[in-house]
């Protein structure tokens, strides 16, 4: 039985107090405190929240607000083994839900509940970042991929015997996945290595060269290279860094956004595994160029298995003089990095929400302006960039802007990592120059029966076969990396419906257009799927979609209607076959019989108007 903090208050309190002390009772480290408590006590009960509140000097409600915000924190006590089954559309198509049923049956635990003996908990999680090796499951911090029924049963029987999840890994993946500190069965699936990031390279050459030049020269070099942010928005990196450098403040921060939560994106997973040094070198270059002393790697909770590895890379760099005090012997250049774990919130991939999360708050976006580069983490200028962006920056400093600018297209220079999954023979990570056409990519991944392509994840666009000539770059089809392939067999409206549920679940709830609008969108899509809509419902969807996109507070709501709008535009027939014109002016979705059912039962009589055989009763 897990400890019950109510019956054993003394022990709970002791653990909570010691966790708080670990972080000097600092309220800005609340997320770390709560994650540690969750880890140690398997839940953060109201009594534990009270103790945290007292220790950190905030109210219990503030603590509860943070606990309730994140999917990986819970106010109930969970089992010793938390099993999270990835419920993304790709995992579902590969049988993820059947795998969940096997775990449920074998361990005697319902999805969303605990087993009777309290040892196991089972949940669905929206996206584990393993689409190229789906279906996947996370047990505590250990990832299991490419699950079959037999493998799931094997895992269950070992779990019942009491085995540690980490000991259940049957084979190690390639590259650093087999490293002593990772020991994961995740495979990299690098299918094509380009010349910027995935080829053999010297991770620190760019950093060493940077320290030989003036900070101003670094910013000029990035501008000349035309480096654009790799997270999806494509903001010019040089311009971002320059604003931070020009903002007068006592200190500034460099944050690496390793929270890749956009379903279908898993390229940062590969970079974190194989190019951690390069990424940190890139962060260090940023620190040097804007004179910053502290950085944070915001690592998504789903990638917790990479944490010990990243910590060791950081430690190793400190020992080599590449991080910490007087980097590379340069007096006055001190820079160090800590890892901030996320706790399962898609919205925290948005930079201002990510900053809120680092500050120990609910992961809600902040108002802009001021932008993070002017006033970000703790109110100081903060550069937030994607893992891939930092890696590119380090390479530009090594080989120069001319080299980088010669790859790609006019506005989109360099290469881009694409994570491809779905109905293709070779799912995985492809490093290709910006401007590669969809057709070329599909040829490489071998997807002869691709009928629809979701570019940029659910917040991107669904394109049809006539658009496969389009090019993957900021000028045409932008993507943070996610490319999902769907064959003719797939039901597009099911995909739309499921991703609307994803946005409903992941909306932070702050602004009405996003919190309420996405629910309305989903309801109308459900109606379409049931064949209860007419042509005018299409106008409603379009207008509502545009309203949500235009009036929401942050990127989540700005992009959540994209999937509805792009499927309506690119696959009109999918909708058209389900629309019916009735012409009687009545709403097909209104069913008077079911609306009266409850009343008939309570009044114990039938309807005088709507039951034709009323008199016979």
């Amino acid at each position: 039985m897990p400890d019950n903090p109510y019956s054993n208050g003394g022990k709970m309190e002791k653990s909570v107090v010691s966790v708080c002390q670990r972080y000097a009772n600092d309220r800005t480290r609340l997320l770390d405190i709560l994650l540690d408590i969750q880890h140690e006590l398997k839940g953060i009960t109201p009594a534990a929240m009270e103790v945290v509140a007292q220790r950190t000097g905030i109210t219990r409600v503030e603590v509860e607000g943070v606990v309730s915000f994140y999917a990986f924190l819970s106010s109930e006590i969970k089992g010793e083994r938390m099993i999270r089954v990835c419920d993304d559309i790709i995992d579902r198509q590969k049988g993820g839900r059947e795998i969940a049923q096997i775990f449920a049956q074998e361990l005697g635990v319902a999805v969303g509940g605990n087993s009777a003996d309290g040892r196991f908990s089972l949940e669905y999680t929206p996206f584990l970042g393993m689409s190229d090796q789906a279906p996947s499951v996370m047990i505590n911090d250990t990832i299991f991929t490419a699950l079959t029924r037999e493998k799931a049963r094997r895992i269950c029987s070992r779990l019942r015997e009491g085995a540690e999840p980490a000991d259940l890994v049957e084979r190690y993946g390639d590259g650093n996945n087999a490293h002593l500190l990772i020991r994961s069965e995740v495979t990299n699936n690098i299918r094509h290595a380009g010349e910027v990031l995935l080829n053999t390279l010297d991770a620190n050459a760019g950093l060493i060269r940077s320290l030989g030049s003036q900070p101003q020269a670094i910013l000029d070099e990035l501008d000349k290279a035309g480096l654009a942010g790799r997270g999806g928005a494509g903001f010019p990196t040089g311009r971002k860094w320059r604003v931070a450098a020009d903002t007068r403040a006592d200190r500034s921060y460099i944050i690496c956004n390793a929270d890749e939560g956009e379903p279908g994106t898993f390229k940062d997973r590969v970079l974190l595994t194989e190019r951690a040094d390069l990424m940190i070198a890139g962060m260090t270059v940023a620190a040097y160029s804007v004179n910053s002393t502290a950085g944070i790697i915001y690592l998504r909770a789903e990638y917790a298995y990479l944490r010990p590895w990243l910590k060791s890379v950081l430690q190793h760099r400190r020992e080599q003089g590449l991080l910490g005090r007087a980097i590379l012997g340069r007096e006055g250049f001190d820079f160090d990095i800590r890892i901030q774990m996320g706790a399962g919130a898609y919205i925290c991939g948005e930079e201002s929400a990510l900053i809120s999360s680092c500050e120990g708050l609910r992961g809600e976006p902040k108002n802009r302006p001021p932008f993070p580069v002017e006033a970000g983490y703790l109110g100081y200028p903060t550069i937030v960039d994607n893992v891939e962006t930092f890696c590119c920056a380090a390479r530009i400093m090594e080989l120069g802007s001319a080299w980088f600018g010669s790859i790609g297209t006019g506005r989109s220079t360099g290469t881009k990592l694409f994570s491809v999954s779905g109905d293709c023979t070779y799912p995985g990570v492809y490093e290709l120059p910006f401007g590669t056409s969809v057709q070329q990519l599909l040829k490489q991944v071998d997807a002869p029966d691709a009928a629809a392509l979701l570019v940029g994840g659910p917040s991107g666009q669904m394109i049809n076969m006539s658009q496969f000539e389009r090019r993957l770059c900021l000028e045409d089809l932008p993507t943070g990396g996610s490319v999902m392939v769907f064959s003719k067999r797939r039901n597009l409206l099911e995909i739309v419906d499921q991703y609307l549920q994803f946005f409903i679940d992941e909306s932070c709830g702050y602004c009405t257009p996003c919190r309420v609008g996405n629910v309305f969108l989903k309801k109308r899509i459900e109606k379409v799927r049931k064949g209860l809509c007419e042509l005018e419902d299409m106008d409603y969807l379009k207008e509502l979609g545009r309203t949500i996109a235009m009036t929401s507070r942050c990127g989540l709501g700005h992009t959540s209607p994209n999937l509805v709008l792009s499927t309506m535009q690119n696959f009109p027939l999918v909708y058209a076959v389900l629309l019916k014109e009735h012409g009687d002016g009545l709403q097909a979705s209104f069913d008077i019989q079911s609306a009266l059912e409850e009343s008939r039962r309570l009044a114990k009589r039938r309807s005088m108007i709507y039951d034709p055989n009323y008199d016979e009763a």
């Binding site: 009687d584 002016g585 009545l586 709403q587 209104f590 009266l596 409850e598 009589r605 005088m608 108007i609």
Partner: protein
């Protein structure tokens, strides 16, 4: 030919009808242009002919409301939802908030007729005469049940607003309402 208008109040309070009467002496102008078919204003209970415009106040909370609304839809070319109840459900829709109950309609009736200390109900029974229409499982707006051509918000919309809308509609020009006419705080 004069245009024909029908009006009705479903789950409403007749406040919107009172507002229509607030157009005062302009009622005479209106009667120059239109003829009232079924409406509480003349106490006609059935449609006598097909109508051009139907004004419906109140949402749908029982089967008779639905029946009447469907009849209005069939008999009117242009159907207008008048007032907050018709557009969004209004006060009656508060019962839809009992959504987390196993048996929301029962809970609603028991609260209204049995379990409140504010009521006098010596029989301790929930009214269930045959003459009473059956309640719907929840309150529906007009647009949930039939297609609605125009919706006029307000509780109630002012006589001035209703007059402007009818005037424009009868003249066949777009409706233009001032900011004040659509402001309700």
């Amino acid at each position: 030919m004069k245009k024909r208008i029908a009006t009705v109040s479903l789950a409403g309070c007749f406040g919107c009808h009172m507002s229509l009467l607030d157009i005062d002496e302009r009622l005479l102008d209106l009667l120059q242009q239109v003829e009232f078919d079924r409406t509480p204003l003349n106490d006609l209970k059935r449609f006598t002919r097909h109508c051009d415009i139907g004004l419906v106040e109140g949402g749908c909370c029982n089967e008779e409301n639905v029946y009447t609304l469907q009849e209005f839809r069939r008999n009117c070319d242009v159907l207008i939802a008048v007032g907050q109840c018709a557009v969004m459900g209004g006060l009656p829709v508060m019962r839809n908030a009992i959504m987390h109950s196993e048996d929301p309609l029962r809970e609603c009736l028991e609260t209204a007729y049995l379990n409140s200390d504010k009521i006098y109900n010596p029989s301790n029974r929930i009214p269930s005469d045959e003459a009473l229409p059956l309640l719907l499982d929840k309150v529906y707006t007009l647009a949930d049940v039939v297609k609605v051509d125009y919706q006029i918000p307000g509780c109630p919309p002012s006589g001035e607003t209703l007059w402007n809308i009818l005037e424009a509609l009868l003249a066949g020009r777009p409706v233009e309402l001032t900011y004040e006419q659509l402001r309700y705080d």
